[in-house]
Each structure stands twice: as C-alpha cells, then as structure tokens.
Symmetry: C2
Subunit: 464 residues, 2 copies
C-alpha cells in the first residue's frame, strides 16, 4: 500500500481518503493512553498539523504503544474517519501500528515550552518543534517565491563567486580563505607573507556581495539575479547580524532608479502573497503566537502603493516631527532605525522608498545625481522593521566612477574588469539587495536572526 | 512607449507586434552599411536570437549609425515587419535609433571565433557571446528546474552552513576560514596556535557537503533538499574539477535505496525535459556547434527506464567484456570512468544505477548491507560522462555507525549531534548528491567545468 501524507489529506480533496484504509508514517508528538485505548498525535513532516491515531487493546502491542516515547517513528495502517465534534477534521482508527525507529526517554525536545535560546543548542532537533517547523518551511517557500518571481520575468539566475579577491563594498570586514599551513607560513625574500603560495596564488576572502559580478551579467542578459550566501566578519553580537547569511540581488539594464523601485515593490508583494497562500497554517501560527499584528501588517504591504520620498524631504519631515529621537536628525547623516520606523509607521503608514541619499554615506558605485551631492540610491523602509532593501542606479560614466574610487581610495587595478564594463556598451543599469534572513524575519515575526537560519554562524559560534 | 523584448516577439503571439510601431533596446552585434542604408543585428539580452534593424539615410544620424561599434547600446523605435524571404521571421524598419551607450573599437569580443581559453580571460564579457549566452541561460533554467521539481513535491529547501567546523566526507581537502592576523598569530601557553581567538572560537573550514545537516532536517520535514556552493581544496587541474562548485543534495526519510533511485531518476528526467522545453534555441545551438549527439542522448535519457545493477554484477560484466581496459577490473576497487562509460554506453545503452559498493571504497555514513561487505550506495552512470549522481541509504543504526567511525578514525565528539539523530526516531533515510556543474556540462555538451561557471575558481585562479 502507498503511504499517504498528512498534507495530502488536508490539501487534496479529503473525500478520496475518508472511510478508506490508508497507510501513514511519521514521528510521535504525544501519546495518551488509558487501560483500554489510546491516542497518538503524529507528525509526518509533510505538514504543519498533526494527525490523531486511535488505537485500543485489540492491538497485540497495545502495552508498548501506550509507552511510546516522543519522537519515535511509527508506521500506521488504519481507516481515516471524520470527527465532526473534534478540533481536528479526521483521525485514523488504527488496525496496525509498527515501530519504525525507537527514541530515548531523555529526548531533549519534550512537550513543553522551551526558550529559543535553549532550542538553539539543539539546532539539529529544533525543526521538529512547531515554531521552527513553521519558520523553516516559510524560509523554503520564500526562497522559491523569489526564484519564481524572477524566472517568470525571464531573469537569468547567476551564481557569483563565493571566494573572491575583491571587496565589493570597499569596506566590509571579511573572512580570509586560505590553504596555507599556519604553522609554516611561506615568506618571500623580504620576509613578507608570500600569498603566491596560497591555493589561488593571491589573498582571497569570502564575498560580501555578488553585485559587481551581477552587473557584468546584466550587461549581457539585461535582467539577472543573484541569490546565494554572503559573509561579514563583523564582531557584532546583535539579533540582526549573522556572519553568514543569504542575499538576493537583482540587476537590471536599460533601467533607472524608478524601474528599480518598481521591481522591488512588485517583488515584495509577490513573495508575501506567495507565502500567505502556500503556508496559511504556519502564518496563522506566527500571527497567534509570535507576532500578533503580523498578518494585518503583511496584508497592508500587499495592498498599498509604496510611498516614495527623497532623503532630503525625509530629513525635513523628521526635523518637523513632534517626536524626540535618540539620534539627531541632520542632512548628511544616515537614517537610524528609529527614524526609518517613524517614517514607515507614523508618517506613511506603509512601506516607503527613501531616495537620493548624500553621496558620502553611500557606496562608490552609486550614480551621482546632477546636484553633485546626492546619489541615485534607494532604501525600502517597512513598518515594524525599518530598512529591508537597499539599492541604487549604478554609476555608468567611467570618468565619474574612477574619480569617486580615487576620492575614497579604492584600488582601480583589482576592479579593472568592472571599469571595463563602462567602456563597452555600459548602458544605465540598477539593482538592489534583499537580505534574505531579514525578509524571513519580517514574514514570520521572529526577532532573532539566529532563529531563521538552520545552523547559524555568529561570533564565537559555528556549532553543527 | 513601453519597450518590447525580443523574447516577447518570438515567444508570444507575434501578430500583436507585427505591422505596429515598437520600441526596443539592446546591444549591437554587427553593423553592415552601404551608402544609403544599413542593417544592425541587435541582441537585447532577453533572447538567444538577435533582431535585425534596418535604417537608411533619411536618419539624420545615418553616418554615426553606419560606424556604430560592436557592443554599443542603442534604443530603436520603428515598425516590426515580416520578412518572409529571410532567415529571420521579422525585422524592424527603424524611424529612430538613439545611442544609449558607446563602445570602444578595441572591444575584446569581436565578431570572430575566439577560443574558450581566451574567453575565460574576459569572463566579464563572455556571456555576450552566443556560446556563453546559451550556457548561462541553461544554467539558470536548470537551477530553477531543480527547485521546481522539489517544491512541487513539497520538499523543504534547507540552507546548510557554508562555514563549518566538521568535515562531512571525513576526507575532503578543505579551505580554512579565519580572521586571525597571519602576521601575528596568537599562541596558547604551550606555543600552539590558539584558535579560541579566531572569529568562531575554533578552527573552521568551507563546507564540502551539506548532507549531514540535511539529514537532521529530513528527520523533521521528511523530504528536504539542499542546493548551494561547496568547496574542495584539491590541487587538481582537470577539466572536471573546480575549487568552488554548487551541489544539490536531497534527503528523504522513511525511504530506502530504491526510493532514492526512483527520486533521482524522476528528477533527472524532469530537469532535462524542463530545459529542452524552455531553451530550445540554446539546445539546438549546442547540438549543432558543441556536441552533435547531444539532443539524441538527452531524449534517450528522458524516455528510458534507467538500468539497475549491483556493483558485484557490474564487475562480472566488466570482467567478461570483450574490451581492454586501462585500469584493472577487480572486486573491491572503485570503477574508473572508462568502466562507467562502458557500462552506460555499451552494455545498458542508457543511464544505469550501480548499487551496493564495497564498504571500504565508500563513505562512513552509508548503510551496511547484511553481507557485512557492501553498503547501500548507488551511483548513477550516464552515457557520455560516467558518474553524475552519487548517493546512499544512510546508516541509521547507532552502534554500527559508531563502529564504522571508529574503524575509519573519525572523531565522534565533533559529530555528537549527527549521532544523536540515531537516538531519537532515527528512521531509515537516504539521499544523494548531484554536482550541479557536472549536470550543466551534461546538458550543454561543454567539456570544461571552467566554461559552465560564471567566474570559476580553480588552482591559482580567482580572477574577477
């Protein structure tokens, strides 16, 4: 007999299973047994909800079943019947329950409330809990929604390199990648470290962004996106920073900052809609137990036209605000989270793009505006979080780009190929980056980045 | 006026554009001009084929247009007309052609035959060539096909860590990840390197496989897949090895080796069909210019039931073969590519799974068969290539797994969590790995792995 998944019973027409004998298998979440009969809540991994299994003392292994340990794996054959008066729509009246894999009674994930801190220490088991089952299914769906959005629009997915000899941001703290024997480091004739002996023949690091390489591909395929892991060796122990995280970066040619914002707005609405539609059980769970206003906030995003305001206008709004900010508001300083949230939550009451930031607080590759003071940058601020997307039109004019690199002190030699893109049909183009874990946090209401990464890497922590 | 993409003209009902004024933009591939009129072949990045633009001396910039440099970016307005007697189905009679971005005449990708070796030195420009435009669009489609296949089957995509303190294969050569200052390495009181001062507080490396972590997730979600970059610091300069490559690894619970093979067979057929359907122009190009038998070979895979043979049977077949192999055939030795190709190409004439290899040539986590000599492993061999997938049922019995680790000399302490999975409902499970670049090579006929990775990383090479 074929195994039926709990997801099939819930998501397909259940009448094809009701009243019939089915085979299911999964892991025991709870067991309650009296002298003559018992109930097992079983989860089979396919679906957020459990299935109730009913058994009685006609089972020859009734005694063992009554003592089943949580997380044991079982295979069950029985009749699926409707249960109109219960909270679950159906249950299985088992004719046979077979133990597939035992468990031990000191199972670390008992049926009680555990702190997220504790669950991080058992990251190999936490996806078996309700919260993390919901988080990581949503993470998976959100990844796919991103791919689907861009593929439907004929964007080419480009895998930019993870190991790199250049530093895209010009400033990120990076992890070194090496095969040199640290006990016997090779030196050159001047006594300096000899990286020509290293695996790649030069100093290499883990990438902080694939944007520059994606630009090369946008100037061939027009519309491309990159989606992969990126790294920051920042010694910051916050709830919003991880050393290893995934980034999604589209890059579009024959496009300016407005096209870029249109794309970001369409994408955000699409991926939120996709998750709401494909994980309603999980999203209801988050809304009930993690973040009460979640669904309303997400619905608001999906149905709003995002606001657009220049940085200079935003500074004026903040200066005139009837609110005491911790950080001063001043033209030329970056917006702080409190400013961003005030704009999104209290002024616009919806997501808002802030554009045209002062050039001195933005990266070298952003396109200089005609005022000579600002660049064609955009950040998307959303209620509840603040910045979630950052992007810009790229500087396509070789002379201005070179001057900017000189001013900041970025070596031109290592980016020769990036500069060459401006020589050969380097048409206007733009792109943005979405920190993927920030997006998962935003969609689930989870407040610590460690809780949306299967095995998080942070300062002093690389367990599993 | 909205810009129309060349893809839309070819792939949508072209009658909605024919005879009408359209706006297009893209990069010049060739220009031919006489005294009174000229032709531009333009590629807009959206589609493999070019669009022909016709202009004449009624254009006030006729002279400049006649001298347009290859790879210049232009915007064109004009009427799309049918050209029944030409090889292309339609062309644009331009009313205006505007230069969007200039190019220089020493453009390194001139309209002539370049070697793949040369094109690797301009990896930032090579996606603009026919071959690499086709390769990297197919790569993108193949990625998506993999995601789509698994998502349609409700597999959960799990991002396993890139930086890791454990070595999944027990044997792979790895890249160290560190933030230690190599000029001032910290020593402990015994004069040994003090990794407690490193970013993660211990020695860390780049992952060689996410399988072990994926197993943890399969025992929660039942069916999961991992798809991300992996690394090998092997000093091997071959056409089939890169230091950085992508790996796709599904892991399924309540499943044995047969389920694993069924999944691999379904997946291979699905992803090949997807690419054939979504990139017919590119696939025809490969079949004509890169690998003459390609389409026939792929059609054969899609329509065959894959063969299945045990390693022991395969050895018998090879021993009795009327063929001189370079490497000896002997029970206990691994199959060489010549053996694998002989089995797939001459014996089975289709893809074939070889199963149940001697335990001593396979990894520690593979499930020991009842004979005590072989493990429940499977390799998929395909005509033209040899091995493309490797997988196994995993050893779920704690005592046998521990004994095997001891025999091989793998530290149990660092894999405490992996062993724990066997204690708590560690039901039978299985999985496999598909080297993604090998798959791209197989589907395109490209013979060097450097030519299917946007910016390849190999020994002594980390350009761009």
């Amino acid at each position: 007999m074929e195994t039926t998944l709990i997801r099939q019973m819930y998501k397909e027409d259940s009448s094809q299973y009701l009243g019939k004998e089915v085979k299911v298998s999964g892991w025991v979440r709870t067991v309650r047994a009296s002298k003559n009969f018992g109930f097992i809540e079983m989860n089979d991994g396919s679906f957020f909800k459990n299935l109730q299994i009913v058994f009685d003392d006609s089972h020859e292994n009734f005694k063992e079943l009554s003592k089943l340990v949580i997380s044991s794996a079982i295979e069950v054959v029985g009749k699926l019947v409707e249960t109109p008066n219960s909270k679950q729509p159906f249950e299985i009246q088992a004719t046979s329950i077979k133990l597939e894999a035992d468990s031990e009674s000191e199972y670390p994930l008992q049926k009680k409330k555990h702190s997220f801190e504790y669950l991080r220490t058992i990251a190999h088991l936490r996806p078996r809990s309700n919260t993390f089952s919901a988080v990581f299914r949503v993470r998976s769906l959100l990844s796919f929604a991103i791919h689907k959005f861009f593929q439907e629009r004929n964007f080419v997915y480009v895998n930019t390199p993870i190991v790199t000899a250049s530093d895209a941001e010009g400033a990120g703290e990076m992890f070194r990648v090496t095969t040199l024997d640290l006990e016997k480091l090779p030196k050159d004739e001047y006594g300096k470290l000899d990286f020509s002996k290293d695996f790649f023949g030069k100093e290499t690091n883990l990438t902080v962004s694939g944007q520059l390489e994606a630009e090369a591909y946008a100037l061939a395929f027009r519309n491309v996106y990159n989606f992969g892991p990126t790294f920051r060796a920042e010694n910051s122990n916050t709830t919003r920073h991880a050393a290893e995280f995934w980034m999604m970066e589209p890059e579009i040619a024959f496009a300016d900052l407005n096209d870029n914002m249109d794309l970001a707005e369409d994408m955000m609405k699409y991926i939120i809609r996709y998750v709401l539609e494909h994980a309603p059980e999980e999203m209801n769970f988050f809304n009930s137990f993690i973040d009460k206003g979640l669904l309303e906030r997400l619905q608001n995003i999906v149905s709003s036209d995002f606001g657009r305001v220049t940085y200079t206008e935003a500074i004026e709004i903040l200066k005139n605000a009837d609110k005491n900010f911790e950080y001063p508001v001043e033209w030329g300083s970056d917006l702080q989270t409190e400013h961003e949230r005030y704009l999104a939550e209290e002024v616009f009451k919806k997501p808002v793009f802030v554009t045209d930031y002062p050039k001195d607080i933005k990266a070298f590759y952003m396109r200089l505006n005609d005022d000579g003071k600002t660049v064609a940058a955009m950040d998307l601020l959303v209620p509840g979080v603040g910045e979630i997307i950052g992007g810009s039109q790229r500087e396509e004019r070789l002379d201005i780009l070179e001057k900017r690199m000189e001013d900041i002190g970025i070596e031109k030699e290592s980016l020769w190929w990036y500069l060459e893109l401006r020589k050969y049909g380097g048409v206007k183009h733009a792109g943005y980056g979405l920190g993927f874990e920030r997006a998962v946090m935003y969609l689930t209401g989870m407040s610590n980045i460690r809780d949306v990464i299967p095995f998080p890497r942070t300062v002093k922590s690389a367990e599993f």
